[in-house]
């Protein structure tokens, strides 16, 4: 997994609440057995005017000029700004895979759906929850070509005017993201504890063993 330390990135404002995982990556693309290559189909139904299908070459598809990611001032954006409950719906990790493959490294919203939030951390993507009013102010600023500096270690966002915004993140998630660590490897360091748990549990619930 790609580590996340500092990010100086362009912000794309997606002014919608309850952006669901079906919108982020529609179901037909979930048929892939690969982990990469979802970026061209990110927000497929909003981004293109035609109907996308898996393995389609997107370079000549008609673009929806009104959609934020198609606007010239947001090309190369690495930070996505959105409204409440971003990533609601299914558990598909294809949603963070598509965001990451497209080039996003961080998402800022007032709130996130739990499974999506969790999935982001497995893919080097930083979801930042900020108060509704703070996000509303960022939307005002992000009208064109606005950049933010995100410092994960300091848990701080710096705006172009020098204003600092602090954000919260669990210690464990932060540590793993900062170092790009593999969760499984870390958990297997507790292999003895897992085995001991199984031995004790087998006494209480032998039908599970």
């Amino acid at each position: 997994m790609q580590a996340f330390t500092l990010l100086d990135g362009l912000v794309a404002p997606l002014d919608r609440a309850n952006v669901d995982t079906d919108a982020i990556i529609p179901k037909q693309f979930l048929k892939s057995i690969r982990r990469a290559g979802f970026g061209p189909y990110l927000f497929d139904e909003w981004r293109y005017l035609d109907h996308g299908e898996p393995e389609m070459d997107c370079t000549h598809r008609p673009l929806n000029a009104d959609f934020v990611l198609n606007k010239p001032q947001y090309q190369g954006a690495q930070i996505l700004l959105a409204r409440e409950n971003f990533g609601c719906g299914s558990s598909r990790e294809h949603a963070p895979w598509a965001l990451e493959d497209f080039g996003f490294r961080a998402i800022i919203a007032p709130s996130f759906a739990d499974i999506f939030y969790n999935n982001c951390f497995k893919n080097g993507l930083l979801p930042i929850a900020l108060p509704v009013a703070t996000v509303a102010a960022l939307f005002q600023e992000a009208a064109d070509g606005y950049r933010l500096l995100i410092d994960l270690d300091a848990q701080q966002i710096t705006t172009p005017s020098g204003q600092s915004i602090a954000f919260e993140i669990d210690g464990n998630r932060k540590y793993r993201l900062l170092n790009g660590l593999d969760d499984i490897g870390l958990s297997l360091q507790h292999a003895e504890a897992i085995a001991a748990y199984e031995t004790a549990r087998a006494q209480r619930a032998p039908w599970l063993f």
Binding site: R92, D170, N172, S187, L188
Partner: protein
């Protein structure tokens, strides 16, 4: 010290190791797999040279991509076929039990888990699918996970989790005739919103919940995720125990008695403290119909499409305007004036025997409206299908002009050939009415099985309580 909630008890029973920041390694008793969210996890194991920690705790089935028409033809779409074949080969390679497409036990993963007794009270149950919350109906801690976590469970039989907060949703009193678990849960989502349960585990309680069958409780917990909660729970009682007894994977003999004694303790203590409590009166809940592109945009069948102009929150107002535009509806329209093109009865929310009985009771002796292009019934599993056929429900549906299909996820998310065409409107017993969910440009209204069948007969939404046979 205050008492413990059911969630507190289930959590404490599965903690293997706790980190300094409070996150914990928790043990997983049952891992269900399907073809869509597992291929990259198996690939991850292969690349790292890892083996499953325990193969016997995994159970796999293909459900999202499978055809609901003649199975002998195989899967026409080569990409779908490859995904199902990849599950077959991964299960064979890693020694995991799979119910193949031609097995009578095949079906939607959240239907077959409980049906086989692979889901039992007191377990932790996970699956790479958000509707894993379904299994909480058994007093099991069950939630959906991403593919990285699927790989993590395969490799360690554990997950790194942070404990959620406790949310009690209490539904007091009794529902009226024609009001089902689906209506209860849609009404709850209408009250607390699709983000209302974010960060919480919801325990559903109260007289109206206690009165539900296990099928009804599964419908309820299934949609906890639509209220934002990863997990929903219902305490164990006689109905839970009776359902589990003699299931293929349930404990037998002495183990059964030991298990039952343990399971009987799976309820919140009387003095347990919840972080949030919402109470509803069951008698006030009427049959529900969603009108927008989020499950929280829901009204009673006798209601009207709300007016965005009256919404004071600007973000919500914008969502409502957008939803009405997508759905091709206008403010003030009566729900019963909305005509439907297709009807879908199925999905992990409503494809169990009780659901099919409720729909058949409405369809019996009637005929699908000529204006309805398709009314399809997709049983949740091969065993549900067999049971329904033994009861003659298939004949009731066929006589009414409905189609009777093979089990799978089908048009809930349209990954197989079953889908809406652009602009088509559907009365659906599934769980999500998001844009494009049932097909590009398709318009979904979520309802109960009885309400879906009633819409198929009338050609538009009708209050099922006003029909005979209910």
């Amino acid at each position: 010290m205050p008492g413990k909630t059911l969630y507190d008890k289930l959590w404490a029973d599965h903690v293997v190791y706790t980190e300094d920041d409070g996150s914990a390694l928790i043990y997983i008793d049952r891992h269900l797999l399907h073809e869509v969210t597992s291929p990259q996890a198996f690939e991850g194991l292969r690349l790292a040279g890892r083996k499953p920690w325990r193969t016997d705790r995994n159970l796999a089935v293909a459900d999202h991509n499978v055809p609901t028409t003649d199975r002998h033809q195989g899967i026409a779409d080569p990409i779908s076929r490859l995904q199902v074949e990849t599950l077959d080969s991964n299960c064979a390679e890693f020694g995991i039990t799979e119910f193949a497409m031609d097995d009578t036990r095949q079906g939607i993963v959240h239907v077959i888990g409980p049906e086989q007794g692979a889901t039992l009270p007191g377990m932790t149950v996970v699956c790479g699918d958000s509707h894993t919350s379904t299994h909480g109906a058994f007093g099991a801690l069950a939630f959906g996970i991403g593919t990285s976590e699927v790989e993590h469970v395969l490799a360690t039989q554990c997950l790194v989790q942070k404990k959620a907060k406790n949310f009690l949703v209490k539904v007091n009193g009794q529902v009226g005739a024609g009001v089902t678990a689906k209506d209860i849960v849609l009404a709850i989502i209408g009250v607390i919103g699709t983000a209302g349960g974010n960060g919480y585990t919801i325990e559903f309680a109260g007289e109206a919940i206690r009165a539900l069958s296990m099928e009804g409780r599964m419908t309820l917990c299934n949609m906890a995720i639509e209220a934002g909660a990863r997990a929903g729970l219902v305490a164990v009682d006689d109905a839970t125990i009776d359902y589990c007894r003699d299931r293929p994977y349930a404990p037998k003999g002495g183990d059964w008695f030991m298990a039952e004694r343990l399971w009987r303790g799976l309820h919140s203590d009387a003095d347990a403290v919840f972080d949030k409590v919402v109470e509803l009166e069951a008698s006030a809940i009427l049959p529900q119909v969603t009108w927008g592109t989020s499950p929280e945009l829901v009204v009673a069948v006798n209601g009207h499409i709300p007016d965005p102009a009256l919404e004071t929150d600007a973000v919500k107002q914008q969502s409502m305007v957008r939803a009405l535009d997508y759905m091709g509806l206008v403010a003030g329209q009566a729900i019963t004036d909305i005509a439907v093109d297709k009807v879908f009865i199925g999905s992990c929310t409503n494809s169990r025997i009780e659901d099919l009985r409720a729909a058949a009771a409405v369809a019996k002796g009637k005929a699908k409206a000529a204006s309805v292009k398709l009314a399809m019934v997709v049983p949740g599993s091969g065993l549900v299908k067999r049971q329904a056929e033994a009861e003659g429900l298939d004949q009731v549906f066929l006589a009414a002009g409905f189609e009777w299909r093979e089990p799978g996820c089908s048009m809930c998310l349209a990954m197989n050939a079953d889908r809406l065409e652009e602009g088509e409107r559907c009365a659906s017993t599934s769980n999500r009415n998001f844009e494009g969910r049932q097909g590009y440009g398709g318009r979904t209204h979520l309802v109960s099985p009885a309400m879906a069948a009633a819409a198929a007969i009338a050609g538009h939404f009708v209050d099922v309580r006003q029909l005979s046979g209910v």
